[in-house]
Structures are given as structure tokens and as C-alpha cells.
Symmetry: C2
Subunit: 191 residues, 2 copies
């Protein structure tokens, strides 16, 4: 990717997490990155197109973390799932607990913008699918009750995590994230 484009997306990601979509000023982004307006509109058709590509960049990192956590074949699959969320929590910490971009844009925009609504739902659904693969592996090893529905349990985890991410954003700390992980992994195994 062109380095100017990447610089805009990198800076935009952080600004979207802080400001949300409607409060994000393109001029502010240009000032922070030192990129001229013409260059922005060379790389992006619109603010919406820009934000959608920022979501893609965000998701490329999520999938890279899923790859890294889930490929640890020496770890039981349930621990690999927990590892993933603990890495995400560390990423939130490094950003000052601003929560999850998917939750932020999903909340702000899905009432008025079907492009974002479908985009964000699609992103969450792909994460759910990948987690469901791990939960199914756990089920086949006997780490989860045999009647566990991996897709349903993956949805519960992702949705609960999104709520905890909001709460961690409100209080500026990790306690809600840890509480959800502790609760989920303590009880999911006893079904």
C-alpha cells in the first residue's frame, strides 16, 4: 500500500476510536498527518470510503492476532481462544482503553447507514466463525460438553466481549474485560 495512504489509515484508525465517525474531521486528520487534501481524495473517494478501509486495516490486525493465537497447536483450543482475547485486551490497554472499533462504528452508524451496518456485522461474523472452529475442536477433544453449539457459544463470547469493551471504554480500565473472560471460561466448560 502507498505509504501516504497507510499513514492516513493508521492515524484515522486512532482518531475513529477516539472520536467516532461523525466527529472525525478530515481536516483534522490532514493536519495531524501533514497530508494535503488532494492526496486524501486521490486515495479515498469519500470519508465513508476512508472509514471502511480503516475497518479493513483494523480487521487485518484482528485476523493476524487470530492466526497467531490459534496456531499455537501445543495449547488446548479453549486456551487459544482465551489467548486471543487477552492479546486484544493488551491492544486496548496500549491505546488507552478506547474499546473496539467494530462496536464503536456499529453503534454509531448502524441506525442510519446500511453499508456500515452490514460491514460491521460481517466483520463480527467472520471472527465468530473462526472462534467457532476452535470451540468445535475443544468439543471434539471433550473439553466442552458434547451438545455444545460452537457457533452459538462463539456468538455469546464475541457479543459479551463487545459489551465489556464498551464498559472498559467508559471506566478506562480492563476490569470488565477480565470479568467477562473469567465468567465465560469458568462456566462454558460445565455447560
Amino acid at each position: 500500500m502507498h505509504s501516504t495512504k497507510m499513514r492516513l489509515l493508521e492515524a484515522g484508525l486512532g482518531m475513529l476510536l477516539e472520536h467516532g465517525y461523525n466527529d472525525l474531521g478530515i481536516q483534522d486528520l490532514l493536519d495531524r498527518t501533514g497530508v494535503p487534501k488532494g492526496s486524501f481524495y486521490h486515495h479515498f473517494q469519500s470519508k465513508e470510503g476512508f472509514a471502511l478501509e480503516a475497518v479493513d486495516l483494523y480487521m487485518s490486525r484482528v485476523h493476524a492476532q487470530l492466526d497467531a493465537s490459534f496456531s499455537a497447536a501445543e495449547r488446548p483450543p479453549l486456551l487459544r481462544v482465551r489467548d486471543f482475547f487477552e492479546h486484544v485486551r493488551e491492544a486496548y490497554a496500549s491505546e488507552g482503553y478506547r474499546g473496539c472499533l467494530l462496536g464503536a462504528l456499529g453503534q454509531e452508524l448502524s441506525g442510519v447507514n446500511d453499508v456500515f451496518r452490514e460491514k460491521i456485522e460481517g466483520c463480527l461474523a467472520t471472527v465468530v466463525s473462526r472462534i467457532a472452529v476452535m470451540l468445535n475442536e475443544a468439543r471434539q477433544r471433550g473439553d466442552l460438553p458434547w451438545d455444545t453449539d460452537p457457533e452459538a457459544m462463539a456468538n455469546v463470547l464475541v457479543d459479551a466481549w463487545e459489551g465489556a469493551a464498551l464498559r472498559s471504554r467508559l471506566i478506562g480500565g480492563p476490569a470488565p474485560l477480565n470479568a467477562i473472560l473469567d465468567f465465560y471460561f469458568r462456566v462454558v466448560t460445565v455447560g
Copy 2:
């Protein structure tokens, strides 16, 4: 409350759920309600003041529902908690699954506005406290393990619910809400 003020807040509540804060146009609100601008600024100092009072109106309904559900003394306390969330789910349904105003404004504004951040966190914390009272009653009856921390378990439930409310907003249906309730109430009792 003055009827014009109530009409603005009622309409504003729905518009905030749909549009969020930054995308809500005061002129649009005035057009929909037929209220002149001068009257708006007679009742509210600013858009922010208006939205904060809309949150108060929202919370008055949440607390009325908590009162109604929790006062059913013939129901076991855990069922009263579940009743509350099922009523909230019905309210979401009647609004077309736009989710929760607290989650929406908390996500959108908490990165840039400490007044909203603290307001929304305060609202969630009061709901958590009321649920914790019920969970403690359940614990004392032996419906929850004795070592249950009612406040911690109430936080988990509210946070998971907020994530499910976001997801129900994304998909336009109740499945995530039901899944979280089924998971939580199935497993909370087995500790």
C-alpha cells in the same frame, strides 16, 4: 414537565437511538415536532443538555421497569432479573431493535466527552447495583452458589447485555439478546 419539553425529549429519544448524537440535527427535531427553535432553547441550554435530559428520561423508564419486575415478590429473584431483561428486549422490539441508548451514546461520545462518559457509566452502575441486590437475595435463598459476588455477576450480565444489544441492532433481531440470557441464566446457577 412542560408538554413541549416532553414532546421534544420523546422525539429526541427515538432520534438519538436512530442517529446517535452527532448525526442528530436539532432542526430536524424541530421539524418533526413542530416546535420553534426559540422554544427548544427556552427548555434546553444546548444540544448536550438536551441529550443528557433524554438520557434521564430513558433511565426513568429503565428504573420503572426495574421497579415493576423486581417487586414481583412471588417470583424467585433470579426470574425477576430475567423478567426485567425480557421486558427490555420487548421494548427494543417495539422500537425496531435499535439497541440501548446507553450503549449507543457511551460508544459514540465517551472518547471525547467526559460529561457523557461519566453520565453513562453512572447510569449503568445504578442498574448494576439494583441487579446486584436481586442476585444477593438469590444467593441468600441458595439459588446461587454461596461464594457468588453479586456485584461482579451483575456487572457481567449488564456488560454482556450491552454487547448483545449492539449485535441485535446490527442484525435487526432478538437472537443475540436471547442467547446471552439463556447462557447467563443457565450457567450462573452452577457457578
